[in-house]
Amino acid sequence: MEKNKRLLALILTLVFVVAIAGCGGGSGSSGDKKLTIAMVNPLSGDAATYGVSHKNGMELAREEINKAGGIKGQQIEILFHDDSGDPKQAAAGAQKFADQKNILAIAGSCLSSSTLAMVPITDKAKLPHTVVSSSTPKLSGISPYFFRMAVQDDKVGGLMADLVKEKINAKKVVFLYPNNDYGKGLLTSLESRLKEHGIALASSQAYLATDKDFSALLTAVKAQNVDALVVGSTYTDGGLITKQAREMGLTIPIVGPTGLFSPKYVEIAGKAAEGAIFLGAFIATNPDPAVQSFVKKYKEKFGMEPDTFAALGYDQMYVLAKAMEEAAAKGAVSRESLKEAMAKSNYKGITGTVTFDAKGDWVRPYLYITVKDGKFELYK
């Protein structure tokens, strides 16, 4: 008994010491021939799907770049930090990478709240920081080192209003949105643009992003006799809303933002997904050969269809690589030179041509996408 306890105490002490040593010694190991970037993303927990897709996309692009000889013979390396969707852990990750002088840029997180916690740190460390989502307006122009490959929320809502006007010609719509910054941002922009188009917003209802049962909200929608149901969802909640709406016999068109555009949406909504229309940055059935070759490679490596996060991650890696090349042409790649090169980005990727405006945002048009026979296709 006593022996056991002593052993336990010994083991615990050892673990503790090693842990401290590990933390303290983390700043070393500056790679001689490697260009290192880092990613902070939820790789476990509720939001892991986005983080993992983003990671997969970047990894695929990194392998290709390295196979093709890297940047002037230097290989690219990516380090990962799992923040489990917790801003506190995201801040710790950003700090960890900011300390490591050899790290040139940081990607992530997918979640606005985590990114908000990271930006003060990356800004202070003058570390280029790039994301593919985190579309809250609070991040617009927050730091000269922050580059966002996403259209911020207060533009996306407007684009959805355009879709409703152009393609459905609705007179009266209802909006359901997750009660977070994303949903609220969409609401603001949707509301004003609908007014411009002369479309009435019968009501807007917030729900929790983790909700699974929407029958109550949908019952209320049904009672309002509207022409279209606009949702501000990502695929899990959006898929469930679609499924439950159709199960209730609600037949009006469903319109959504980029978040619906994932194979998981069709998986969750099943047959109910047919005919839903949403915005997309990237479509796997896009006949463009560049897109097709990406889809093929992605499927081979990860065994599933790429979603928007994967495609944007893939492009993001190339944007970073192009910027590194630019910087390398002028001398050694540093955080500062990489930031300068990033700001001038003009890269034609599979999701469009990436450029950043003065506020570090990517202003771009979207595709209209629909589901037919369980497959995504462009909406004519």
Partner: protein, 343 residues
Amino acid sequence: MAVVAPPIVKWRPNLSKLLGGPKAALCFSAVILFMTWVDSLALTEDYIFTPYFKHILFVSLIYSVATLSLNFVSGYIGQTSLGHAAFFGLGGYTSALLTQVWHLPFWPSFLAAGLVAAAVGVPLGAPALRVRGPFLVVVTYGCGEVFKFIALNLEITGGPAGLPGLISPSLGVSFAHIGPTGKEAFIVAALALALFLAFLMARIEDSRVGHAFAAIREDEIAAATMGVNLAYYKLLAFVLGAFFAGLAGSLFVHYLSFVSPDTLSSNESIMMLTMVVVGGARSIPGSFLGAFLLTFIPEGLRYFKDFLGLSYDPWLVLFGLLLIIMMRVRPQGILGAETVFRR
């Protein structure tokens, strides 16, 4: 209670006494202060202790305060609370709102954070007068969850993304501008808070209040017949715990310059309770140990994970196992007294 009485081990009481004494506190502070300031003295280009290390150090100290304050409830009066993060987060939100919306300076808001948390400690502690044991666990848990939902849904708390851009505390100079990394002053403040609380608790233990707590913990009914005012002392424990948790929360969110509903989450409460349990309930050095262990180990594991090339983070799986083993081998915690739980 039918616990198999462990053989009396001489070294442990001695160790506890040693670690609980003022000398240990002095050594501990010296080590922390050394790690914090050595970079400012040395004139090297690279950090000896990186900002990341200091970040972890600060978080450990903040959790030490939270763990110590949870000890009022879970240690002294022996009631398990799974809602402690509610006080922590409430303090954070209070000072965030006071400084951001009403533009108060940091220090009054800091104090207000503690007071508001303490005030809320009364209604949250009230159920403890009627229910206890497993029922109190779920009541405190439920209250904590309700607070999270309020923070998620209110307009003024910024919803799920929280409130960014909080001011940094200052003493003439803003904390963020003191020292090479801007974290040094925060560490000193957290250390001061933790030491003050530890000192206070050490004094309380042998006072009238401490004896009343002990009486309630050991046998409520007997304590009541002896004339101990149960309601008063139980609420006092909650209020004291809430006050210090609120202070810790306030300092923490101003350090991050950001507060979000995650600060209030039940996972945080569970983590705080675990720190108490692992370190040992009612043990002051145990609280520090629990907080430091459970903050440093997961960060250390990340290096093992990278080193071994694992694609996932094993921490939470191991954490679960650790708790199970801990309860089997040493249910009273590493530095805990021999009997902690009541049946």
